[in-house]
Amino acid sequence: MSAPLDLPKWADTVLVPAISVVAAFLVAGLVVLAIGENPLTATRYLLQGSLGTGEGLGFTLFYMTDFIFVGLAVAVAYHAGLFNIGGEGQATLAGLGIALVLNNLTFLPGFLLIPLGILGAAAFGAAWAAVPGYLQAKRGSHIVITTIMFNWLASVLIVYLLVNVLREPQSMNPETRAFPDQSHIPFMHDVLAAFGVEIPASQLNLTLVLALAASYFVWLLIYRSRLGYAIRVVGSNPTAAVYAGISPARIIVIAMVLSGALAGGLAVNELMGYQHRLLLEFTSGYGFVGIAVALMGRAHPVGIILASLLFGILYQGGAELAFEQPAITRDMVVVIGGIIILFAGALDGLFRRFVAHLFTRQKLARA
């Protein structure tokens, strides 16, 4: 995205997104007011429920893990100039990969099975993203439309497989049998208890460490590697990339493969870390939250981690809030996500101009 206005770098990367997020929360506050509730009380419940207790914090970090993966997935594609809105479908297929690996290799010990499960997730997510990537690169099919279609194809496919093929014969629920015990990614409270540290039990598991490692890896890749440079060149100017000897088609496919593999992390956290079986709709729309996270975090891993923490707070706090104030259901979080995407993404220019206006006034005042 080209910056038409001259702003200091810190203003562009920190101030503009921060202002748009604050504006988003103000609008969300108006929605809360409109349905006759007090936004300040709501905010207090939200923060108390997500950060106020050890258990709440654990759940917040669990959701944060989900959002880091989908946020990174959107960001990597974004750097290549691609808009991958297929995170939902890619994570769904990754879940299928996990189930196939874990339930067919039950004889393996955990230290082999867990990495293989994660690889299965990455491979299936990558494959589901590679097809739209290939079609964009070689046939010019618009990636947005194909990834939308692939989301729906994935949801239809997973229903078919869970109802007709993978379901246990005696079970009524469309879900696979439980994954073998040794394939469960350990819960954080169990891991820390082994070191004598007691924390309250929650869904938080070691996948968080994997998410942070993936963030570091993406930072290295995008900003410190030859491939990342090629990705950014293709994203900002495909014509220049051709003159520099970079093949945009190849880079597009690679970026989508990486993006799909990262989206697979959502399935690792949800299924290997918590549910321990493959079930319908475990992605819960988080693939779309990834878009908000990536836009808010300016497609930079540090920004994505911070944005993921914010959305983790919203999701966990939102659940507690819905419990305390039933009028404010968890759909409020979806509303906030939508407003953030609108403000930080589509109306970015508006906030940028606003900040630029402040800066010029300041300069004039000094002169």
Binding site: S141, T146, M149, V156, I291, V335, I341
Partner: protein
Amino acid sequence: MDLGILVTIFDSALRLSIPLLAACLAGLWSERSGVVDIGLEGKMLVAAFAGAAGAYAFGSAWAGLLVGIVASVAIGLVHGFASISQRGNQIVSGVAINMLAAGLTAIVGNAWYGQGGRTPPLEGDQRFGSVLFGHSALVYMVLLAVPVTWFVLGRTRFGLRLRAVGENPAAVDTAGISVTGLRYTAVIIAGVLCGLAGAYLSIGQAAGFLPNMTAGRGFIALAALIFAKWRAWPALGACFLFGLLDASANQLQGLSLPGIGEVPVQAIQALPYLMTVILLAGVIGKAIPPRAAGLPYVKER
């Protein structure tokens, strides 16, 4: 299969294709003017909710339709403001609108009626009754929109200008015609059509609003739009085809076809998406969008 079943299938195919058709024509207007609209789903959902709420409040289906259209146009104008005036990313804005619609309808519905996001059931005059062959007035309004769209876009000065704005806005601007004005007009027309689509769902077909009742129809409409290559009559064909697939999926359930065996319902459900991907890949024919679709217009460029 006897004639009775065929008539039943045709009838339910028509019913199922109407919301697709209205949303598809909405997308057609918007994209022909150069504004990509993946927020069809969201606008439909908002219209379905506002339509049902309006019909319940005023006790009249027509009042409900009006409220639904106003709500849909309002959301459309948010998209228009972001993509036309602010020259923002149209895809991002569409995604935002879909999320906003899903969240807002659920939360407002829950706050107003306390029934888990549903509106109270509509009855009598609060719904559209059948006027001809067992179909409501909405069905005929949407069907009429096809020739109107074809005529206005293809045979009038306004339509020519609107299409030109989607292909080469600079040329239109040079001729002294407002690019912004034309695009806003298209976005408003799209809002009206999405309003029809949403109102049809909640006060025509069903008797009230259910959370997320559009269930992806906005995206099937998008697929149909690509299938129809952004033209009105083919849009009717594509939407009817997708409606027919949907209707026959219900009929074919558990039925065994000779040589193929039992066809899973999901295979039929997947067909619209699959066919769109194949079409976009250029394997059968080629779908070329309006040249300036998705690009904000910058005057001095």
